[in-house]
């Protein structure tokens, strides 16, 4: 019992490794700040393209979404970071993470947007076009505002996934929080820094998870 507490919940070690973890958390935040907007934008492009009239736009969009949804993000990240140099493209770790996440997130966010767009009644588009709004204007001012509202909980939920997945960046030696925690573990021979990192994720994400959980929404309404 005592040993377990020493190994996992050593407060002295946690205290000592805390500044290091916070340095890592800054990088995690920076990653989220870059990767989430990129994914939201890429997803929008993917969703609009997969709803296009022309099959020459639609089919590549389907292929893109299917491919990157099938690809494990870790494999994708390693391929971008360690594979692209063989093609003469060398990216620094941050850029590699940003690119891999852009590809992966665009596919996932794209599916979420698409469900939201499909739930908007075609009558909305017809009404808008009948007043002389162009197709892009109709998308921007009529369809998307409703689509985003339709799937807001799913967008948030996907964003929680993305935040968690940023820990993959540790694989390419980007010193985000999990990387820092693991460094602290290896110098202290103690798992407490990892537990602390888990605690930080929990504190940050649990309120969001609670907010969008079906159960929580039922209580709220």
């Amino acid at each position: 019992m005592e040993q377990i507490a020493q190994q996992f919940f050593n407060l002295d070690i946690m205290k000592a490794s805390f500044p290091m973890l916070m340095e890592g958390l800054k990088i995690t935040f920076l990653l989220v700040l870059v990767v989430v907007p990129l994914g939201l934008m890429g997803g929008l492009v993917a969703a609009i393209a997969s709803g296009a009239k022309s099959r020459w736009i639609r089919w590549p969009a389907y292929a893109f979404v299917d491919f990157f949804r099938s690809m494990p993000p870790l494999v994708l990240l390693i391929a971008v970071y360690a594979g692209l140099p063989f093609a003469g493209i060398r990216l620094d770790p941050f850029a590699a993470v940003a690119l891999a996440f852009l590809l992966n997130n665009s596919a996932y966010y794209g599916e979420v947007y698409r469900a939201g767009i499909e739930a908007v009644s075609p009558g909305q588009t017809e009404a808008a076009r009948s007043t002389g709004l162009s197709a892009p204007q109709t998308m921007a001012y009529v369809v998307l505002p409703q689509a985003v509202r339709n799937v807001l909980p799913d967008l948030v939920s996907n964003t929680v996934e993305v935040v968690k997945l940023t820990s993959l960046a540790s694989v390419v030696s980007l010193s985000e929080m999990v990387y820092q925690a693991d460094m602290a573990r290896s110098v202290t021979y103690n798992a407490s820094p990892i537990v602390l990192a888990a605690g930080v994720y929990l504190v940050l994400l649990w309120p969001v998870v609670r907010l969008i959980s079906r159960h929580g929404r039922k209580i709220a309404s």
Binding site: G123, Q124, A127, S130, T131, G132, L133, Q137, Q146, R149
Partner: protein, 245 residues
Amino acid sequence: MTLPILELAGLRKSFGELEILTGIDLKVTKGELAFVIGPSGSGKSTMLRCCNLLERPTSGAVMLEGRNIAASGVRLDPVRRRIGMVFQSFNLYPHLDALGNVSLALRKSLKLPRAEAAERAAAALERVGLAERARHHPAQLSGGQQQRVAIARAMALEPAVMLFDEPTSALDPELVGEVLAVMRELREAGMTMVVVSHEMRFAREAADRVIFMDQGAIVEQGTAEEIFGAPKSSRLQAFLARQAA
């Protein structure tokens, strides 16, 4: 002979193998209210939707103020501003209030400055008797009020012609009157209108011409007295008998 505002000439429309409109010829002159009746599935909505190219005709011409807008290469957005459309299910934008619904196209399509668009939208809402509801969202309005906002949305663009596709069919009976009253006022103000509806009383009182469609074709047309008082074709007679029953 005045030039028709809207003219359909040899209009055909097929969905796949199925020919839904089998050659429609129709002229609507300025200030006229053309009232279209016919059984469900006879192609009335499809005909209206061809008028503003929501549906592209398979062949034939749609002439708006003397120009064939169904020809290839015609920019449709400016053309559609000249043709107002009112739908059975209102199709108001639920995320915008009444003023937002009416002013959206004024701002984004007509490119009026925000203040001017708001002013014009408010005037349109005033005309349909909903000035005080400008800040209400569709969900906070009755069906009749929603349809009046939809009419204001179409009207605010000052179209050359307005199309109504069963504007009162989705309404509770007690809300039909307020929508018909707005349409009556529009007509008195000289608006050119094509109205698909089952409101025969309104047709008798307001229609310049009643057009009977069946199986994708115009079977018979004439004044309300002619169509309702002395129907010639057996199909119209049967249709009117079913309506009365």
